[in-house]
């Protein structure tokens, strides 16, 4: 009973978090969503750190910032993280205008949404692990 409950929980989390990714998971690659999530989790954390560093350096290299944020936006949108993606778009506008203050403020929003997403991803991965242990 516990096992079924966990598996159902995983399935419904997957559906609500990643609608397109969920469609891609199948029997030939049953861990696909988990793999992508793990990959994104690690990669996005790295990108956030790079952006933070770039924002702290003086003078600010807006080109580099835009590069990082562009990549971050690309992968966030690909896994379906809409809120993070939207904050990235807002950030890039400040970046294009070379508005340092705007960038710093906007980045706080990006970090916040990313932190919320990370927590959801952590819970998802934890539940997946638990479910596989009871399998």
């Amino acid at each position: 009973m516990d096992r079924n409950r966990l598996h159902n929980q995983v399935a419904s989390m997957r559906r609500s978090l990643f609608d397109q990714l969920e469609e891609l998971q199948d029997d030939t690659n049953p861990n696909f969503v988990q793999e992508v999530v793990t990959l994104f989790y690690n990669d996005s954390t790295r990108l956030i750190q790079n952006i933070e560093q770039a924002l702290n350096s003086r003078p600010i290299d807006f080109c580099k910032l835009d590069d990082y944020m562009h990549q971050f936006k690309g992968s966030s949108s690909s896994i379906g993280a809409k809120k993070v993606t939207n904050e990235c778009t807002a950030f890039r506008e400040y970046c294009n205008a070379e508005n340092a203050e705007g960038c710093i403020r906007s980045f706080q929003q990006v970090k916040q949404e990313h932190a919320i997403l990370k927590r959801k991803l952590e819970v998802y991965l934890q539940t997946v692990r638990q479910a596989s242990q009871t399998a």
Partner: protein, 153 residues
């Protein structure tokens, strides 16, 4: 040939020459996908495989170019991200259009009109905005057919 980003999960393109996939059309379409972002590359590969295409993935434009040069007749279409550190998608596109007769689709999270315009002007047969949905990829075979039809005129 090992252009993938090191995790060994790469499918090699067939060496039988031109793809004409009569019966299972468009299954078996030989696609080279290039993106330096590992998350995107992984998702693309999965989506393309779900379309029953034969997928080779690369995380560097330079590598993609040498793969294409060495295995000229083993690909039907190239899908490339625009924003890459070593060589960007536009440069890759220019090389491919001048050296080979392959359709190239550009992909980017950048939806700005001037960038899309540049891609199209340089010869991209399509420009897709991330996130790309699998339904879009199911239709890319038309670019291969269209190019072949133009070439035989």
């Amino acid at each position: 040939m090992n252009p993938s980003n090191g995790n060994g999960s790469m499918s090699t393109a067939s060496s039988s020459g031109a793809w004409d996939g009569r019966d299972q059309f468009p299954a078996g379409l030989r696609v080279l996908v290039v993106d330096d972002d590992p998350t995107c590359l992984m998702i693309f590969e999965k989506m393309l495989k779900a379309c029953l295409y034969q997928v080779t993935k690369c995380n560097k434009a330079e590598t993609a170019l040498s793969v294409l040069r060495e295995h000229k007749n083993e690909f039907d279409i190239v899908i490339s991200d625009v924003h890459m550190p070593d060589m960007d998608g536009f440069e890759l596109l220019k090389h491919i259009t001048s050296e080979m007769d392959l359709p190239v689709i550009l992909i980017s999270a950048d939806a700005r009109k001037q960038v899309v315009m540049e891609g199209v002007t340089y010869g991209a047969c399509d420009y897709l905005i991330k996130p790309v949905r699998i339904e879009t990829l199911k239709n890319i075979w038309q670019h291969v057919v269209r190019k072949k039809a133009r070439n035989t005129v």
